[in-house]
Amino acid sequence: MSIDSAGLGALILVVAMFAVTLATRWGGVFVMSFVPINERVKRFIGGMSGSVLVALLAPMAVAGDGGARLALLTTAVVVLVLKKPLPAIAAGILAAAVYRWL
């Protein structure tokens, strides 16, 4: 099924995208309000919280281009040395830009 993106159709599409995204923002908390919170559920949630980020980053680091890899490597090194996130992020972005420019 397709919608014509002219006029009102486009507005309907954007509102539908909003509804789906809102459902993802609200859904997790909503579902959790029906889950009894015990020790195991807490450990599941705790394990999941860092894993979201790791799962997001792993394909970037492994399957990304050289610029993406160098950016992540630079960020990791700088944050471990300086212990400050902002210079690390800036250095990472710069590394990607320089790599792709060369």
Partner: protein
């Protein structure tokens, strides 16, 4: 009931403002990223008002860029919405991790704060909670910063897009990746965490290669969660 627990869930104007300010530096990158989106959207044939409206309502950059790939005179609705859902499904898990901190708020406040949940403010809020600091101000204030700068950037891109015609060449596609990595690498890691993260990374990669597109974040995070549920931290507490 317990004093410390309620302090962590505190949410007042002061905390929201502090949270807003803490996300301002990263938000400058978000402006550039938003400008890239504004330009790309105009080039994909999206109406200007609609582009700004999309950033305002949807406020989820990766899914918005994915939507542009599907945009044309005829847009496949089901494919579009499934893609948006898959890219944003991580919000479901992020919301679940926030539940403990949000459950004492009134429903209006709870779901109001969640309107602006995004990767960066969520990561910072969780970091604060894990250190025993109040995190909801970061979540809401930081979210408002990211959201307003994202919309502002989008409008800039619509008006003066020529400045950022290729965000990749400036490394801007790596803003969120580098930010999130800085959050992950900044913390200390126990043996248990290392195992959980290794499993999460492995599962994510397998899903990335062998499962439908955009499923890797959810698969990896759930795998990490399962390992978390069945392992315990070695007790070294005093």
């Amino acid at each position: 009931m317990s004093g410390t627990g309620s302090n962590l869930c505190e949410l007042n104007r002061q905390l929201v403002w502090t949270g807003f300010k803490q996300l301002v530096p990263i938000s400058f990158f978000v402006i550039l990223f938003g400008a890239a989106f504004g330009l790309a959207a105009t080039q994909s044939g999206l109406d200007e008002g609609l582009t700004a409206g999309m950033s305002t309502l949807v406020f989820a950059g990766a899914s918005q860029f994915a939507a542009l790939d599907l945009w044309g005179p005829q847009v496949p609705v089901v494919t579009l919405l499934v893609t948006v859902f898959a890219v944003n499904a991580r919000h479901l898990l992020m919301g679940a991790t926030l539940y403990t901190w949000l459950r004492d708020l009134s429903p209006a406040r709870r779901y109001g704060v969640l309107l602006v949940v995004s990767d960066a403010n969520w990561a910072l809020a969780m970091q604060a909670f894990n250190r025993g600091q109040a995190g909801l101000g970061l979540l809401l204030g930081g979210g408002l910063a990211l959201w307003s700068f994202w919309v502002f950037g989008t409008v800039l891109g619509i008006c003066f897009g020529g400045a950022v015609h290729d965000p990749r060449s400036l490394g801007l596609d790596m803003v969120m990746g580098c930010f999130l990595l800085a959050m992950v690498a900044g913390g200390e890691m126990s043996r248990r965490t290392a195992i959980i993260w290794t499993v999460a990374a492995g599962a994510s990669l397998l899903a990335y290669w062998y499962l439908p597109a955009n499923s890797h974040v959810v698969v990896g995070a759930l795998a990490g969660g399962v390992v978390g549920a069945f392992t315990r931290e070695k007790k070294n507490e005093h």
